[in-house]
Symmetry: C2
Amino acid sequence: MSNTTIYNFSAGPAILPESVLRTAQSEMFDYNGTGFSVMTMSHRSDVFMSILYHAEQDLRQLMDIPDNYKVLFLQGGASAQFNMVVMNLANGFERVDSVVTGNWSQIAHSQMGKLSHANIHLAAHGGEQYNYTDLPSPDTWDVSEKSAFVHFVINETVHGLQYRDIPKLATALPPMVCDMSSEILSRPINVADFGVIYAGAQKNIGPSGATIVIIREDLLKRCSSHIPDVWNYQSHVERQGMYNTPATYPIYISGLVFRWLQSQGGVAQMQTINALKAKILYEAIDNSGGFYINNVQPRARSQMNVIFRTGKPELDELFAQESTTRGLRLLRGYKSMGGMRASIYNAMPLQGVEALIEFMQEFQKRYG
Amino acid sequence: MSNTTIYNFSAGPAILPESVLRTAQSEMFDYNGTGFSVMTMSHRSDVFMSILYHAEQDLRQLMDIPDNYKVLFLQGGASAQFNMVVMNLANGFERVDSVVTGNWSQIAHSQMGKLSHANIHLAAHGGEQYNYTDLPSPDTWDVSEKSAFVHFVINETVHGLQYRDIPKLATALPPMVCDMSSEILSRPINVADFGVIYAGAQKNIGPSGATIVIIREDLLKRCSSHIPDVWNYQSHVERQGMYNTPATYPIYISGLVFRWLQSQGGVAQMQTINALKAKILYEAIDNSGGFYINNVQPRARSQMNVIFRTGKPELDELFAQESTTRGLRLLRGYKSMGGMRASIYNAMPLQGVEALIEFMQEFQKRYG
């Protein structure tokens, strides 16, 4: 290894704060004087129960989660939630509203109808409307008061889109169910505006294997006992998240990330830094005289996943290769998209983005 | 911390070989010269794809898995498999046969009927027949040729039961679907005798979050496209286990355990050591003159989870407390069972069992 500083721009599983990995390393054989690795502890041991409890409390503090919301750490990622939200919350409803704004919400839309009698109604389609260069405003979503809920993905990692203005619906309209995998904890949100928030941990928190579900407790009444317990929110709530063995180590790591966020000043401070990181990177693209291209409307540009391309696939490939040798890793775009993608989650320091911009400018000088 | 050697008898998440934790610790910031932690790698990166590939190949070597079997590393534990096996394999069948032999197969039996039109037929019930002190012989299972499959749990952690003779059905009978969570890799088995083998990794492999599924490929034809992709074996096979983000770190740790098993002489050598560990522990119980009690018939006694009690709950509690201070950890029995349980998985060294026996004898001298 050279002494080049390595910056990890992976879209997920993604960068973790160095101090979190340092703690995990130092506690590998002995968590907090117990003589145990967290990885080898019974999930029902007092020690792990305490880890889980504090992870939940710290997340509640960071997101200011109201008391009438339950928090679960499940398995299966956002992909499992696509179906769990319908199975659990659409009982007795004929319709679910679904907003498609990119790759992930498209997959959610195609999966949600399986195992459900409800009609999965397309409430808006950002691909058809804007070719995924802009987002349909919540005012234009075709939502019915009779729907079980409205599902959307607030940040689309593949298309580099994010609702900068956080959607909010009239109170007469059904609850919003939101996939926040790739932006949870990146900025303050009002949890009370949502019915369910879920997030795979492997993007803006870090490790894969844990999935956070935040659910308004009155919605739990909808969970039918006909749903298998392992996919039933109510069953997990009743067993305090211990219905089955959770992914203990990813939960422990997530908890360390929550503490790191608190030490950094919390979500409000993250918003400030994230906004700055995104601002300078989009400016570098926009000020490149067309060498680097991002076609997303400014109001819909993601602060988490910044996509760009040169317009020449062979030059994009060269960029990916050369940036890798310079310690700027995993900048290749999503397989179906090509180009580049810089995921600049909470744990990406400003210096990482500055190093990327410096390389972009140097690369342009050589090949522009 | 004192210098007492600590032995972890947790039923799961469970003990890991010290060398595995040592490797994980040393590679926390740099896996194999990549400059990355495995925890922060994209699951689609060449490096992680290689980790996954080798984990599968090493598991294939250890278990001698035939080429016509697919191997998946999924999420959700055995509890998710209870339903996935029915959803995927009972399409077009009217009946599934289910053998109840303890706590876990009872839960499986009660869950399997959810989301399925098939009748979950009770093929045998070890609780009704033997009060869970013996196992119904496969010859006596009430199995129909027309059933989709026969489900059973080969080792029951709570009741301390294990089929010492591995069940095998006549070829005219439906495929066996087996939960091997708590004994996978503890002894040689003939994979070709099974339709599906599944196992949560958190018992005899170690970390929670990864679930191994080994499935005979002709059975994949039964997987309907109406099943959500995230719970559809065929979807996972088609995407080489990358349908959604897998639990990367638990898979990496599992792979390290597979290499450790190879270095120890593989599954045949494990069987020899596991048999010896179980033999001396059951002898210690049986030779205690009734101070320690295990009522399981010898032919059905688990080599993985050895349960025992003194017959006096307050003495059991004292045993749990005193053993803990002596470095013998997590010996309390399952919450609904009381008493003690020593889980002596592959990673438990013979010395750990010897230390437990020494303490048992000393404890008996003081309180017997």
